[in-house]
């Protein structure tokens, strides 16, 4: 692969980028995606603005001072609060569980909430943390307790073990939808482009001077660049609008999901683009393309369909965890698992590495299928037939 090789490949990628970028289909998908993203960011923010006041239960001997603490915390965080005195911890916990209370302040000892978000109780700005801080500051410290270090804020404890917040889950769902749409849309476009070149026989003119692998590389790079620009546009709108409306989706731990989603978007595209190109090369007419292209996208559909079982459950099942490491399904499954808080970061990295390795394997197989199929006209080719040679 010398300089001339790359120069020619760049020419091919450039044509792909210009032709597809100027197409109406590209403009339409970009518009739909951007509107969807804008809606996903703005609508929750609008709803959040109309949220009901937080109901805070207080347990202890001095309800008046605790009410002052809670009201102060409400002012600091810009949240409306309603204070409800509770007779004892047991009844307060029961009220928390059944949802009639959002937060309970137990005088001088702790702040109780139903569930601590995955981002941790330390993520600043939230009402429970503000209450814990202010209550901690105003608490008279017994003389001997300094030995254990100055503990200013009260601990925030969740009744239910920490799970992923709804925000994170929704971000995960949103990420998986965008990933699925982008990868399968661009995959289809690549497959169509390949089949078009084969059907109208321009491949013969091009391959008279260019190697099949160059044509394949140029096509997937050009389209990849285009999809990357589109994805970057989506993320920019997400971040820009998100910070403008002060969306918790952008500020919270969900940002990490978007980053993971972007990484898996790039790797997932890389994994699938060559497979889609190979699928397109196996038909002689564009009208036959569904027969070879649909099977390529099935792992993504499975990962996407099953993502609901993870996003709406407290714990991912073993099968979905397995899908999270399998290169064909991991582009969607792993961001979903991460969003649901079911896997630690290191597993996300391991999965990404596996996907990168899988991409190389897939590229080799796809290049073989593509070079063998692209000039063979006639009936639709079967994969086994192509691989046999």
């Amino acid at each position: 692969m010398n300089r001339s090789w790359w120069r020619t490949t760049r020419v091919i990628a450039g044509r792909e980028l210009r032709t597809r970028g100027r197409s109406r289909a590209f403009a339409v998908t970009t518009a739909i995606l951007l509107i969807a993203v804008a809606a996903a960011v703005v609508i929750p923010a609008l709803l959040a603005g109309k949220s009901k006041p937080s109901r805070v239960g207080v347990v202890g001997a001095n309800p008046a001072s605790m009410t002052t603490i809670v009201t102060e915390a409400g002012k600091v965080t810009g949240t409306k609060v309603t204070v409800m005195p509770e007779p004892d911890s047991a009844s307060a916990e029961a009220a928390l569980r059944d949802g009639s209370l959002d937060i309970v302040l137990v005088d001088g000892s702790e702040v109780l909430i139903k569930q601590v978000p995955v981002g941790g109780s330390s993520s600043g700005g939230s009402l429970p943390n503000a209450i814990a801080s202010i209550a901690g500051l105003t608490k008279a410290l017994p003389p001997g307790s300094l030995a254990g270090g100055p503990q200013l804020a009260l601990p925030v404890r969740g009744l239910i073990p920490p799970g992923a917040s709804l925000t994170r889950r929704l971000t995960g769902l949103f990420t998986s939808i965008v990933l699925w749409i982008l990868i399968s849309t661009y995959g289809q476009v690549i497959a169509n482009g390949v089949a078009e070149e084969k059907q109208n026989r321009i491949v013969e003119v091009i391959l008279a001077t260019v190697r099949p692998i160059q044509l394949l590389t140029g096509k997937v790079l050009g389209m990849g660049l285009l999809s990357l620009m589109q994805a970057a546009g989506v993320v920019l709108v997400f971040l820009g609008l998100g910070s403008a409306v002060g969306s918790s989706v952008v500020h919270g731990a969900a940002g990490g999901i978007v980053v993971a989603g972007a990484v898996f978007m790039v790797l997932g595209y890389a994994f699938y683009c060559t497979a889609y190109a190979a699928a397109g090369s196996m038909v002689s007419r564009q009208s036959e393309i569904a027969a070879t292209v649909v099977p390529v996208g099935i792992p993504l559909i499975v990962a996407y369909a099953l993502s609901y079982t993870v996003l709406y459950a407290n714990n991912a099942n073993a099968f979905y965890r397995f899908l999270g490491f399998l290169p064909p399904t991991s582009p969607i499954a792993m961001p979903v698992l991460y969003a649901a808080g079911d896997v630690p970061l290191w597993q996300v990295i391991v999965s990404a590495a596996l996907l990168a390795a899988g991409t190389l394997v897939m590229a080799r197989i796809a290049a073989l299928v593509y070079s063998r199929s692209i000039l063979r006209t006639g009936a639709r080719l079967r994969l086994r037939q192509v691989l046999r040679g």
Binding site: T8, V11, T19, E204, V205, T209
Partner: protein, 302 residues
């Protein structure tokens, strides 16, 4: 000047033998006709030059070297099944193919302009290809094969589907390229055209060469025939005096005697015999037409 050589090309498709040790060479700087019945292996041979078909044996040489990627950059190709991007603008398309042949962008654009103007498509440069008529699409295809000023031009059925004006234009371009030192190889079934345009041809059948050489030599054949008429001798009686070692009368029609010359015999000796009998009114080679040669060597009609 480099020449193109096909040496022992072999290729089967399933049970069909497409190329069966095909061997011939194309002299440089000529318009060379590549003939044969349908299915004789012409398209497979041309594809083999570009590596679009893999060979099971033999090789194609250019300038004495096996053809590789570097040489192919300097070749131009117009395949039998025309292929360009239907929705791409004509100028962009020709420029793109120039750039794929390693031309810098501006040079490719200039050359594309030049060829499209030369082929009468200057006002259609920004049209989509599929908005053009069949003949004009063919012109674009020719421009795409010529844009990088190739040293070797290979065209599979370039005249198919062209109107008489298009045929003249295509012929003129091919002749002009050859005059510039380009080696031009094309296949065609229009043998009158080939006769007119080509200095040499190769005729193949079942993947083997069955005749090759200069058109004039092929038309004359191994047993050249002379047509001779002597004034006042309607029965062609003068021919009785011919030495059988030189030739003999085959046929007499309205005083015109067709004399079959023996290989290597001197036609002037026939003329001497005829002049001895009277005034010679007609004396010329009775060439077979190329189409007759074709039928004779392939056993098939055109």
């Amino acid at each position: 000047m480099p020449s193109l050589e096909f040496i022992g090309l072999k290729r089967r498709f399933g049970t069909v033998v497409a190329l069966d040790g095909l061997t011939f060479s194309v002299p440089p700087g000529q318009v060379f006709g590549f003939l044969g019945p349908n299915g004789a292996g012409k398209t497979t041979t041309m594809r083999a030059v570009f590596g679009v078909v893999a060979l099971e044996g033999g090789e194609v040489r250019w300038d004495g070297e096996p053809v590789g990627e570097q040489q192919r950059r300097r070749f131009g190709y117009m395949p039998e099944e025309r292929g360009l991007y239907p929705s791409m603008a004509v100028l962009d398309q020709v420029e793109y193919l120039g750039r794929l042949h390693d031309m810098p962008t501006q040079a490719a654009r200039d050359a594309a302009h030049g060829w499209l103007r030369r082929l009468g498509l200057a006002d259609r440069e920004s049209s989509r290809l599929d908005a053009l008529s069949h003949g004009n699409q063919q012109r674009v295809q020719l421009a795409a094969a010529l844009v990088h000023e190739p040293d070797l031009l290979i065209l599979d059925e370039p005249f198919a589907g062209l109107d008489p004006g298009g045929v003249d234009e295509m012929s003129a371009v091919l002749a002009e390229r050859a005059a510039d030192g380009v080696t031009v190889l094309f296949s065609s079934h229009q043998l009158d055209l080939v006769e007119h345009l080509c200095e040499s041809v190769a005729i193949i059948n079942h993947g083997r060469v069955v005749a090759e050489g200069k058109v004039t030599d092929l038309e004359r054949g191994d047993h050249p025939r002379l047509t001779v008429r002597v004034a006042g001798d309607a029965a062609g009686g003068w021919a009785a005096a011919l030495d059988p070692a030189i030739g003999k009368a085959e046929e007499v029609a309205a005083g015109v005697v067709t004399v079959a010359l023996e290989p290597g015999a001197d036609s002037q000796q026939v003329l001497d015999v005829a002049r001895a009998a009277g005034a010679v009114e007609l004396f010329s080679y009775a060439n077979r037409r190329l189409s007759q040669v074709f039928r004779d060597v392939t056993g098939e009609s055109v």
